[in-house]
Symmetry: C2
Subunit: 369 residues, 2 copies
């Protein structure tokens, strides 16, 4: 792992289990020094706001041939984190006061077992916050396990909120590392959701040790809409992971590599037809996973027949994502995708049409001290 | 194969063997109709020049993680084709009058067994030339089997020469298909040499059926130099091919895919540091092939220690290619690479520093009719 907290005073050991259901420590004591490659915050920062509210968008990872290294942010849906300086909370600690939204009941309020909490703690560590206690409220706009980067959105919003309440001293790379710490606990050490959730747009993860991110700017003058069709279906996470081939034949490797290159070129050149084609072109992961989501193959076919430039599984599913350049056409495509999920997969689904989110996680409100 | 000539009059069957050493037919009779996806040349074109001379540059294919789908053109070295309307040659046919250069003796003058001849014949077919005979002289500037796209350069120069002598009616895609016909006979159905040899710059081969090429523009205002170090060593072609793994583990696949994406982004963004890093990053092909070229690993190390942004094997070797942004530094890097070939591989080598060729195959002279 790229980021390793080592403290001369006290070593904090995170629980090893991936489960978030059993809290062990109610609060995190932030008394760690940071490895030298992180910004050295020589003096503990003062909060510049009494409270802030941050938003982080949904994300689509595993973008066709961009499996495990390329993701993008989707505007209009996401998670919210409200954060306040709270004298009731022990200095240097964080408390989760509230979780709202449809999936609230499934989430722990223990910050060590909550995506937002873990990321917030990491940012407090990086900043060296010892004298101020924080209270955090999480508003889930994204359903869990939908393939839209729900955990990453919580982590991203929390990381940005903590950073901003102390004056925004950390850069995006540090915030992504904080988010990664959270993702590692929940869904594996992958940054292709949390990096675009924080940075916006398309982000290519080039390396983890050290973390190297490449922002891929889709031209501002071009429109890009994502049609997200989410069925009422819990994607079997273990099966989705087990479905991945351990070994890949050279022809498929070369094919997917070339399509990954074509995808990157299409994004940077604003070539939506090329982007859609690349999105649809994965010969390695999608063919194994699509059969595990009832109706997915028919949904992809329906989207493309309805005029989408391309379609694939969002993240590990079950959401299907299609791309188009027109909002109205996007709605028609969404209807066709819903119908296909119902007809071929016997699944109810909802669809929405969203723009590319170019900004990433951001403050949407603040109250000065 | 994407391009298939079918004739209602007479079917020309190319010899099946890949060997170019045994001529079967001295001349090709161009009486084929073209499949409908090719430009329909309704009337046979008239030559607009009495003679032309074309140049096509060397190319670097298998660009690190761009194995088999990404190549680029290198200025300053390449092959020349002189082409004349020749009443002595039977109408609709082509004759190779001369081959010069160090490798001339190894090449056949039978157009059906010569890279330039095969490509020239293909272009004549596409244009529907039946009434004019052509005489072709090939000047080899590139050594054979060096990993610098020698056969592709001959094919590209010939394809462009034939097209231009008849007024340039075909587009680059058709010319690449003609070149591919030649490459197929010599080194396999790969366009990552012949496409950049014809188009210049960096070219990504996205698909073969149908042929889809993506031109990747490296920013004009940026300098990019290739240091080419060619040892006196015949890369064992069969061994080089056999060294490729049949299967690739998922982590290496994801790594190389992400590096391929990073390479494309670096080219388009003009990020030389990123480009070099991507070039050096291949974990699949280079690690298997480098040990077959004495000294290659040391040469790469020496190039990077001397300040190159990255280094890898050019094509299937034995040439090593490094990148830099400064011509003088390029010469130093080249010296260090030569020394490493000698010291660690016991091989004499020569090095040159060349700019990115942005134009591709082109006319360099012409005589009007």
């Amino acid at each position: 792992m790229a980021f390793c907290c080592q403290s001369p005073i006290k070593t904090i050991t995170f629980p090893q289990s991936k489960s978030l259901s059993k809290p062990q420590k109610p609060l995190f004591v932030c008394n760690l020094s940071l490895p030298s490659r992180y910004p050295v915050i020589s003096t503990e920062p003062e909060p510049v706001y009494a409270s802030v509210k941050a938003f982080a968008p949904a994300t689509v990872a595993n973008l066709g041939p961009g499996f495990d290294f390329l993701g993008c942010a989707v505007d209009g849906v996401g998670d919210f984190v409200s954060l306040s300086v709270d004298p009731q909370v022990h200095p240097g600690e964080i408390s989760i006061s509230d979780i709202s939204g449809d999936s609230a009941k499934k989430l722990s309020k223990n910050p060590l077992w909550n995506c937002a909490g873990i990321a917030a703690i990491e940012v407090m560590k990086m900043l060296g916050v010892r004298s101020v206690g924080l209270s955090l409220a999480l508003e889930k706009g994204l359903p869990l396990g939908s393939g839209l980067g729900s955990s990453a959105a919580s982590a991203a919003a929390a990381a940005v909120a903590v950073n901003e309440i102390f004056g925004g001293k950390l850069g995006v790379e540090e915030l992504v590392l904080a988010g990664l710490k959270s993702e590692e606990k929940v869904s594996g050490y992958h940054a292709d959701n949390v990096a675009p959730a924080i940075m916006g747009g398309f982000v290519l993860i080039r390396n983890y040790e050290p973390l190297e991110l490449i922002r891929l700017s889709f031209p501002n003058e071009k429109e890009l809409f994502f049609v997200l069709a989410s069925p009422e279906f819990e994607a079997p996470t273990k099966k989705m992971r087990a479905a991945l081939p351990a070994e890949i034949g050279m022809p498929h490797h070369v094919w997917n590599c070339s399509q990954a290159g074509a995808l990157v070129a299409s994004v940077l050149q604003g070539d939506l037809v090329g982007l859609g084609k690349a999105l649809s072109s994965d010969k390695i992961v999608e063919p194994r996973r699509a059969p595990l989501i009832p109706g997915m193959e028919a949904v992809k076919k329906a989207a493309i027949e309805a005029g989408a430039f391309g379609c694939t599984i969002s993240g590990a599913g079950p959401t299907a994502v299609a791309v188009t350049d027109d909002e109205e056409k996007g709605r028609e495509i969404g209807e066709r995708m819903i119908n296909a999920f119902l007809k071929e997969g016997n699944l109810k689904a909802v669809a929405s049409v969203q723009r590319l989110d170019r900004a990433g996680a951001r403050l949407i409100g603040s109250i000065p001290r």
